[in-house]
């Protein structure tokens, strides 16, 4: 209750010319909503964001430099740690690049297994997005739901390669080991289990008025800006472009499967969320098709332990859950690469954040940043 005291200043009236002063808010590096160690320097005018400067490099582990001192086989474990939420896709990108460099033919069964693993990992990665995005916006229930399903995917990976997070499953020329006997039936069971669960998430979030208020129309990214900033993955598709490497430049066995590319209309935070939800269903479709047509045969091409690809360079890109992940390798004919450049989606998507966040309220930066689904080792490498 306000107490009327004679010391209180006169209430401010509308016709007075009020001066405002900008101030700087520091968000991170330790902040639960920055999903790691990213620092955002926000220049604020009241509650409105005038400028965002991401300060990165808190997790720079010099992986590109390490690549120059490892053989092609040894570097596989570092690809796991570049994108730890979807290690299978990171493995896959490195394999595709090295195989392109050396011209290795991969057995068909290995290609199918790679697709199955990559798509399962895409579902797992989008579930982590869903969990952290919902918890950023204040909804704790989807976090528990999403991790319930993710544990089942992790179980499938664990029975195949024995690891829960950094799988190191793929090898140059194939995969490390064949799937166990009951993997196919268990994965089929999981796929039929997943569809109703995704409907459940949608029932909780998609039309929820609070969720809509926090996401609909927030953080707009129009298509020309997205292309100019080389945004890729779900943020690009959320802005309306139907661009997916799996369809447009098929690698592995993706040209054999039938799936749709979901796109958004407005390019707002809600669209990016919706694209990921829809991608989970499409990934499950791909997994089901790949399990149906899983061919018999070898799982690994013959690649010597002292593997020396010919002199030259190769560039290969794949569609990781966050967008395009590409490796550029320069080989000097020895067992170790001369130079490896890693193009990661998070780094390029983060560049668009200052454009997207300008003019929105400080509470919206959490939603906008969360909808980009950035992980920091990909940004800093």
């Amino acid at each position: 209750m306000m107490v009327d005291s004679p010391d209180r200043p006169e209430p401010l009236t509308g016709d007075r010319n009020l001066e405002t002063e900008e101030f700087v808010v520091n968000m991170g590096p330790q902040h639960p909503s920055t999903h790691g160690v990213c620092r955002l320097i926000l220049t604020m005018d009241g509650e409105v964001i005038k400028k965002v400067v991401p300060d990165i490099g808190f997790l720079h582990r010099s992986i590109e430099k390490i690549a120059e001192n490892r053989t092609y086989h040894q570097f596989m474990i570092y690809t796991d740690r570049i994108d730890y939420v979807s290690s299978m896709n990171a493995n896959h990108a490195w394999c595709v690049a090295v195989e392109k460099l050396a011209g290795i033919e991969v057995p068909e069964r290995a290609e199918y297994l790679r697709v199955i693993m990559a798509e399962l990992n895409r579902i797992a990665s989008h579930l982590v997005f869903l969990a952290s995005f919902a918890i950023d916006l204040g909804a704790v229930t989807p976090f528990l739901y999403a991790f319930r399903e993710r544990e089942r995917i992790v179980d499938l990976f664990e029975m195949t390669c024995g690891q829960r997070l950094t799988y190191n499953y793929m090898r140059i020329g194939g995969v490390s080991k064949d799937v166990p006997k009951d993997f196919v039936s268990e994965t089929k069971k999981f796929c039929s289990y997943l569809y109703p669960r995704v409907d459940e998430y949608e029932a909780i979030l998609t039309e929820n008025p609070i969720f809509l208020g926090r996401t609909k129309g927030i953080g707009l990214l129009d298509l020309p800006t997205a292309i100019n900033y080389s945004v890729s993955g779900p943020p690009l598709r959320g802005s309306g472009l139907k661009w997916d490497i799996r369809k447009d430049e098929p690698y592995s066995a993706y040209e054999k499967f039938d799936f749709d590319i979901p796109t958004g209309e407005n390019g707002d935070t809600w669209d990016r969320y919706k694209v990921r939800i829809e991608e989970m269903r499409q990934s499950a479709r791909i997994v089901e098709q790949a399990l149906e047509g899983l061919p018999e045969g070898g799982i690994k091409a013959k690649v010597p332990a002292r593997f020396r690809p010919p002199q030259g360079e190769a560039f290969a890109r794949i569609e990781a859950p966050r967008g395009e992940m590409a490796y550029f390798i320069v080989s000097d004919g020895s067992t170790k690469p001369y130079r490896v450049k890693i193009r990661t989606a998070s780094f390029c998507n983060l560049q668009a954040l200052p454009v997207m966040a300008r003019g929105w309220k400080i509470a919206d930066i959490v939603a906008i940043f969360g909808s980009l689904d950035i992980i920091l080792p990909e940004v800093d490498r």
Partner: protein, 179 residues
């Protein structure tokens, strides 16, 4: 001593309270060990396993009275989950200093223990978080399974339960300087 060690058991059995004689050590350590609030601070891969998976329903930190706090000022335990780079080392130290006493640290994963896979040929990674802050429990693995990190938390609880109030004045504050 027999009664004193069983105090927590007796306390639960007395409905509506009552008069009880115990030692300060037993009550303090019991309450501290059973409500370890941890700081939500993950840097790399281990954050998914150690903070998110273990916090979710299958493994569930809450069973041990562990609840995550976003602010270091409300936290008792820092789980260093992930690689610490030289740029981050100063911030880790600041976070540790902001936590209120008594405070504990678990170094989770190879990176936090000794740099992990980034020990060789790397110019930017701190080789072990114990160069910056004191560590109570080390949990190896890359990343450790949720069961391992829970085992680490139970080990820390055992360690807390052995503390004595009379030792407080003897303990030296260990705050080494970063390189």
């Amino acid at each position: 001593m027999g009664v004193v060690q069983k105090v927590p058991v007796y306390l639960e059995k007395i409905p509506g309270g009552g008069l009880i004689t115990t030692s300060l050590d037993a009550v303090l350590n019991w309450s501290r060990a059973s409500s370890l609030w941890y700081l939500l601070f993950g840097t790399a891969c281990c954050a998914i396993e150690g903070l998110m998976c273990t916090g979710a329903s299958r493994y569930d930190y809450d069973r041990f009275g562990m609840i995550f706090r976003a602010s270091p000022r409300q936290a008792d335990l820092m789980i260093v989950a992930g690689t610490i780079t030289n740029k981050m080392a100063k911030r880790v130290k600041i976070l540790y200093e902001q936590m209120s006493e008594p405070k504990y640290v678990i170094a989770m994963g190879g990176c936090a223990i000794r740099g992990g896979p980034f020990y060789y040929d790397c110019y930017s990674v701190l080789r072990g978080v114990d160069l910056v802050i004191p560590v109570d429990v080390y949990v190896p693995g890359c990343p450790p399974r949720p069961e391992s990190i829970l085992e680490g938390c139970l080990k820390l609880q055992q360690k807390i339960k052995k503390q004595k109030v009379s030792d407080w004045s003897k303990t030296e504050k260990f705050i080494p300087e970063p390189k």
